[in-house]
Every structure is written in C-alpha cells, then in structure tokens.
C-alpha cells in the first residue's frame, strides 16, 4: 500500500534539548493513524517537521513523495492542519477564519462547512477573542474538515471539547473515512478516541518510535490476565515461560501471561481440569502505560 507520510531517522534538537532522536513514521493512504506518546515526547515537533515549519537536523521526511521543507506550499494545498491549541485573530469572526483558511488551502466545501457548523453547534459570528478554548478548537476543526484536502494532520484536535463534541468529532472523521478515504494522522491522548478511529498506531517516547502497528498487533505484545477455578492444583504452571505473578489460593489461580504464550498456559490449565475461567485481554490503558513509562520505571 502506498505511503502518504514516510519519515525515517528524524532528528531535531532545540539547543540542548533533543526533541526528535531518530523518529520513524509511516502512514498509508486512506488510513487513520494514531500518533501517541507522553507529553513532550516529540509529537508536535514531528508534525511541524512534516509541515516544513521546522527543518530537521537529520533523517528524511516525505509527504506524498515530496520534501516538506522544499515543496512546502504545493504540499500544503493538499492537507489541512489543526493544532492542539487553536488561536484566532481577536477581530475576525469564526466564520471568517474558517473561510479564509479554507481558501488558502485547496478550497472549501460550502455545504460541508454549514453542515459541520450545525453538528458542532458553533456560532460563526462571534469574534475570535470571544470564543472559549473548546469553541476555538471547533473553528480549527470545521476549517480543516470542510477543506478539500487529501490529508489531515490533527494534533490533539479535541483538547477542550466536551464529550458530546468529541463524539461528533469521532462520527465525522469515521464518515469521512468511509466516503472519501482521506488519510488522517491523529495525535491524541484519548484512548477511546484512538480505539474507535485508528487503523494503526505509532507510539513514540523520547523522540523515538517505540512501537507501531494495528491495535491487535500491539495487544499481542502484552499480557492477558487469567483467573480460573481448577479441579486439581496446577503443577507445571509456575515453571511455564511467559507466566507472571502467579497466585494460587487452593483451587483458584490467577496470573498474567504473555499473550503469545497463551496457548501453552491454557493447555496446562485444561490438564488440571477447568471449572470456570475468566480471561481479560489487556486494556488499552495498560497497553499504553507500559509504553509511556520510561525504561527506569517499568
């Protein structure tokens, strides 16, 4: 499948701070790609490099096969960007900003714009300085979503939105996906949002990509929690590779097992006779916490 975004070995330092330290990222055409990482891990810096706003110190980045630093404006006509903190001109109305940004990109779908204003319940007549944080964010979202572009770069776009509006955002992006096959790079901390929308995710930490793949693939890298009542005491379970934190209480056992070793653990259980069994796949929270924590604290 064709890559819309390809970055490999990206490096960027600000003074002594190393913001990107060999970051890799691949986003395929038509997918919603989740971009995750703790605060300060380099997500915004990556997006700014992809926009040609920052010049990378090393590594390569390509959008649509072109260099974002050199072919900046040509590329920008094909994409829309929503920063995590949309700031508006105090004396321009929200409607004016939406139209202006749309026109400066590849053009604006008027019908879509009005529909989105309706769905996000946004008053376009207010002046920039009068909007709350959440409403400023909506202005940026409507401007981006109503633009005729192939790629959306969204940097924590729903920060400040209420849960209702977050849901609207999810629906809109999912619909777009189905209809137009737009490519979306979505940086987010909201795991339910990522789970609902993203085909693949990349997790970064300390300016480096630590994991990339579909959510199913990532789940395979973590542990499943098993809790079971057995007919006989389990004998070989403690020695089985991949089994952790085993607690035996009479006939009841509880343990965590590396998901790829699940099969052999279950075989061991059935040989002891299973009366009841509860298996919990890792929650997303656990998945991400594992990756977010630094090496030292893990």
């Amino acid at each position: 499948m064709e890559n819309i975004i390809t970055a490999s070995g990206l490096q960027k330092s600000f003074g002594r701070t190393r913001a990107l330290d060999g970051l890799d990222l691949e986003v395929r055409r038509g997918e919603v790609h989740g971009f995750l990482g703790p605060n300060g891990s380099g997500k915004t810096t990556t997006i700014r490099v992809l926009l040609g706003l920052l010049k990378a110190d090393g590594g390569t980045a390509q959008l649509f096969g072109q260099d974002p630093w050199h072919d900046t404006t040509t590329l920008h006509r094909r994409l829309a960007y929503v920063p995590g903190d949309v700031t508006l001109w105090p004396n321009l109305s929200g409607g004016e900003v939406i139209d202006l940004l749309g026109r400066l990109r590849g053009g604006l779908d008027k019908k879509r714009r009005d529909e989105l204003l309706e769905r996000f319940a946004l008053d376009p007549k207010k002046k920039g300085r009068a909007y709350s944080k959440g409403n400023r964010q909506k202005v940026g979202l409507v401007a981006a979503l109503a633009s005729n572009v192939e790629l959306l770069l969204l940097d924590e776009p729903t920060s400040g939105l209420d849960p209702l509006m977050e849901e609207v955002f999810r629906q809109v992006v999912a619909e777009e996906q189905k209809r137009d096959g737009r490519t979306v790079l979505l940086s987010s901390h909201i795991l339910s949002e990522v789970e609902a929308l993203c085909d693949r995710v990349s997790i970064i930490r300390g300016g480096r990509t630590v994991e990339t793949g579909t959510l199913t693939e990532l789940r395979h890298l973590t542990r499943t929690t098993i809790s079971a009542d057995l007919a006989n005491p389990p004998n070989g379970l403690a020695d089985l590779p991949g089994v952790h934190d085993l607690q035996v209480d009479g006939s009841h056992v509880r343990f965590e097992v590396d998901t790829r070793m699940l099969d052999s653990a279950l075989r061991e259980l059935t040989s002891a006779g299973v009366r009841s069994l509860v298996s919990q796949p890792p929650t997303l929270e656990e998945l991400f916490l594992r990756h977010y924590q630094t090496e030292g604290t893990r």
Binding site: T72, R77, S93
Partner: protein, 535 residues
C-alpha cells in the same frame, strides 16, 4: 471580601517581573535633567549668555511648542523648561506600564488565574497603580538629589522631580481608566497614547499662543500643561500638585467604579458580532494583513493629519513674530528671505513627525512577531501560503504605512501653512517634499525590525524599540549633550537633508533607501531558513 486583598503580593509580582525594565527607565530618565543641566552650563556659561539664550528661545516657536514657554533665565529654570518634552515620555512610560500590568494580563488570561486565588477585585489595578506611582516617586527623589548635588536649591530640585512624578502619576491614572474600556490591550494602548498626544498638543497650542511666561487657556486643559506650570526654581507653584493629586484621585476612582461594573476580561465597550462568512475578498495573506492593520493605520493617518494641521498652523506664528521684530526680519532677509524661518520650522517639525511615524513602522513590522508568538502564524503557514508571501503582506504596511501617514502630515502642513499665508499652490508641494524626504530614515528602522525578526525573533521587540529610542535620544538630546558627529551619525535621521530650504543631495537618501532594502532582504532570507514558530 476585601476588594484589595492580595495587593501587596501583586505589587511584589510586578516588581519581580519588571526588576530589569523598571530600574532601567527610572535611571535613564533620572540622568536626563543632569545631562541637560551640564549641557546648558557649557553652552551658556555666563549670566548674560543665559539671558540671551532665554530671550532667543522665548521667541522660537519650535522650542515653545516642544518644551513650553521660557519663564526663567537661571540654570535650574532653563533646565526644567528644556526638559519639558521628557515629561511626556515619563507620562507615556507610566501609562504603558499600568496597561501592561492590568489589561494585558487580563487579555492573556493570567488575571483569571491570579483572581481565583485570595485576590480582591481591585487588587490588580491598585497594585499596578501603586507600583507605577512608586517608581515615579523614586524617580522624583533621584532627580531632586541629582540636581541638589549640582548645587541647585532643594526646593526647586524637589519641585522639578515631583513635577515629573506628577506627570507620570497622572498618566498612570489615565492608563488605569483606559484599561477598563476595551477587551484588547492593543486598543487600550491606542486610546491611552491618543490621550497623551492630545494632552501634548493642547499644551503646545496653549504655549505657542501664550503671552509672557503664561500659556493660553488650552495648556490648562492638559495635565502636561499643569506640570509645566510648576515653574521649578522660580517661585514654585506648589498648589499645582494638589491639582495633580485631585486628577489622579478622580480618574482612579472612576477606574475602580468601572472595574466593579464589569466582568474579568470583559471591556466596557461591548464586543460586536462579526459576519458569519468571510467576504469574497478575504482570500489572500494581504487581505488578512489589511484586516489586521487597517484600524491602526487609519488611526495613525488621522493623528498625522491633525499633527500636520497643527504644525502648519504654528508655522505662520513664526512669521508673525518676525513682523514684530524688524532687526530679526532684516537678518532673515539677508539670509535668504522671510520664508527661511518658517522653512526651518517645517523641516524641524517634519523630523519629529518622522520619528513618530517610525513608531508606527516598528509596530507594524513587529506585528509579524506578535503573530508568530501568538501561534497564529503556524496554522497560516500550514496552508498554501509561503513564508515570503506572508512576510511581504505585513512589510507592505511597515513600509507603505509610514509613507501614507507622512504624506498625510506633509500635505496638511503645506495646506494649512499655505492657507494662512495665501499660497496653497506653493506650500503644498513644499510640505509634501518635507515629509517625503524623511521616509528613507523611517524605512531603515522598519528594515532593521524585519532583519531582527528574521534572525533573532525573540529579541525583535526589544532591539527595534531600543533603536527607535536611540534615534529619539540622539535627535532630541544629542546636540544639547554635544555628542560627537560620529555618535550622531548612528541615527539615520541625522543624514536627512533639511527640506524645505536646505541643500538637497540625493546621495544620503539613496544610501538610506539601499540600507533599508538590504535589511529587508536579509530579514526575509533569514526568516525563510529558520524554524517557525520560535516561541
């Protein structure tokens, strides 16, 4: 809840935030009277020379307009008079300082955070006023001690220092008031500076049309007129300070009442709704820049039209003065006709006008930095807008904006002066030429701002305003301080030929324009290469 709770802590916060800025301006202003005193001592060392200097200055409309009416030929009296313009500067600094710690804080949303702590409704405003007036009182004491150190009498020295502090305190109160009116700090600054300009013009008009040591009535409408009337070192009028205290008290009270009636972050002038859709014209960076600059530009143009009319009208009075003085008339006729004096006057006022216009040029060029630091540039550059196109859309205003306001001032000067002597056809082009010849120096300051913005964006505001301050300093005080020509040459305004009436050589104008162009090109090249946004 006590509406002043937390004032002490907020005063400490202001002192902490301004721990560099405040000592700098206080010390800088405190040195000015000493510098002027020593230059007057050197320029006119004897009693007789001082009498002649006072008489000459008394009849010079430009001096009267800038500094006020001469009321005394003594060293102290001449120094106080000569420092008249500096009172406006003290006033402006105080005004901006109060707005900086009130409306700017509210607009940035920091006031809200502070207000959620145990802080009374009026604490922020009270703290800003107390800190600003306190700084002015420190300035007053420093000025007084400095002058007493030069063997001037203590009474006059304190009257001198307190007159300055009174000007500062009164404009601090003006700042407190205008900070209540608008939601944006920029608009509040605009209104405040306009008030200061009107106060200066009223004082100037009153002084130019006064008799003897006394100004005409317009001076009494202006706080700057009052402080000038303190007449330090000659029968000081202490009662004027009661006037100043009453002014501060009334304005502060009104500001407090206005503040009680509004919400945090809201202004008294209600924000209006805008259109739901952008007009078809709003589709380019230039159209956006026009929206962002137009209000300021039109306000400046209106101000410059008024300024030109005032200067043009005052030019006539220099002629009237000659009519009363046959010897002087003869001198000027030998020097090249009676028009020489008013020519000199127009050239001098245009030079000042150009310095003020540079303030607009710097402000318009710094808009680029404001946009970048406010994170509004980033989403724009993420569209199909190129960096150079965007920068050019703002530089149009930084370069052509001052041109427009100078042309406005030049035309109205020529028009009003021409009308007063019945020669509009002849004076209109002369006024225009006097304005146009100043432009290359203004462009150099705009170019410098663009260059720093490209190279060291964080330093751009500090460097650009300091450069303008240096030009103002060299132009206003350089000659009085007898600085070397090399030092004076640092200011681009030093190189502008005297028009009308002087010899015009094109070379300095061409060179200054070339320097301005080179600075702009350098700034754009640096901006294209650097990271955005630098915050």
């Amino acid at each position: 809840m006590n509406t002043l709770a937390g004032t002490g802590a907020l005063i400490r916060l202001i002192v902490r935030r301004d721990r560099i800025l405040m000592p700098i301006w206080v010390l800088f202003m405190a040195v000015i009277p000493l510098a002027l005193l020593s230059s007057i001592k050197e320029l006119v060392p004897t009693e007789a020379a001082r009498q002649a200097y006072a008489a000459e200055s008394f009849g010079n409309s430009t001096f009267v307009m800038l500094y006020g009416r001469v009321y005394d030929a003594g060293l102290g009296g001449l120094t106080f008079w000569r420092a008249g313009f500096s009172m406006l500067v003290v006033g402006l600094i105080s005004l901006l300082m109060v707005i900086r710690h009130t409306r700017t804080e509210e607009e940035a949303g920091r006031r809200e955070l502070v207000g959620s702590a145990v802080v009374g409704r009026h604490a922020g405003l009270a703290a800003a006023l107390i800190a600003t007036i306190g700084a002015n009182l420190v300035l007053a004491v420093l000025v007084a001690l400095g002058l007493m150190g030069q063997d001037l009498p203590a009474g006059g020295a304190f009257a001198f220092g307190l007159a300055w502090a009174a000007a500062g305190a009164m404009f601090a109160a003006v700042g407190a008031l205008v900070a209540q009116l608008t939601e944006g700090a920029g608009a509040a600054r605009g209104i405040g500076v306009t008030v200061a300009a009107v106060a200066f013009v009223l004082r100037a008009v009153g002084d130019v049309s006064g008799t003897g040591a006394d100004p005409a009535w317009p001076s009494w409408l202006s706080p700057l007129g009052w402080t000038a009337q303190v007449h330090a070192f000659r029968d000081e009028r202490w009662w004027i300070f009661a006037l100043a205290v009453a002014f501060v008290a009334v304005l502060t009270a009104v500001a407090f009442v206005l503040q009680s009636r509004r919400d945090v972050a809201a202004g008294l002038l209600p924000p209006r709704l805008g259109p739901a859709e952008a007009s078809p014209a709003l589709r380019t960076p230039l159209a956006l820049a026009w929206r962002l600059h137009r209000g300021t530009l039109l306000a400046w143009a209106a101000g410059f039209i008024a300024l030109g009319a005032i200067f043009g009208g005052a030019a006539q009075t220099t002629q009237d003065m000659l009519a009363d003085n046959p010897q002087l008339l003869e001198v000027f006729e030998r020097m090249g006709g009676t028009s020489a004096l008013s020519d000199l006057f127009i050239a001098a006022t245009m030079s000042i006008t150009a310095l003020i216009a540079s303030g607009y040029a710097v402000q318009a060029a710094l808009r680029m930095r404001t946009e970048e630091a406010g994170l509004r540039l980033e989403p724009l550059l993420a569209t199909g807008v190129g960096r150079l196109t965007w920068a050019a859309s703002h530089l149009v205003f930084a370069l052509l904006g001052p041109t427009l306001v100078m042309v406005a001032a030049g035309l109205t000067t020529g028009l009003t002066y021409g009308a007063s002597i019945g020669d509009v056809g002849g004076q209109l082009p002369r006024g225009l030429a006097a304005a146009l010849v100043q432009l290359p120096a203004v462009w150099v300051l705009a170019g410098l701002t663009a260059a720093i913005f490209g190279l060291l964006p964080r330093l751009a505001p500090a460097v650009a305003w300091s450069a303008l301050g240096l030009c103002l300093f060299l132009g206003q005080l350089g000659a009085a301080l007898q600085l070397s020509q090399a030092a004076l040459d640092v200011s681009p305004f030093t190189h502008i030929p005297r028009v009308p009436g002087g010899d015009v050589s094109a070379l300095p104008l061409v060179l200054l324009t070339a320097i301005a162009a080179a600075l702009v090109v350098f700034g754009l090249a640096a901006f294209r290469r650097r990271d955005v946004p630098v915050t």
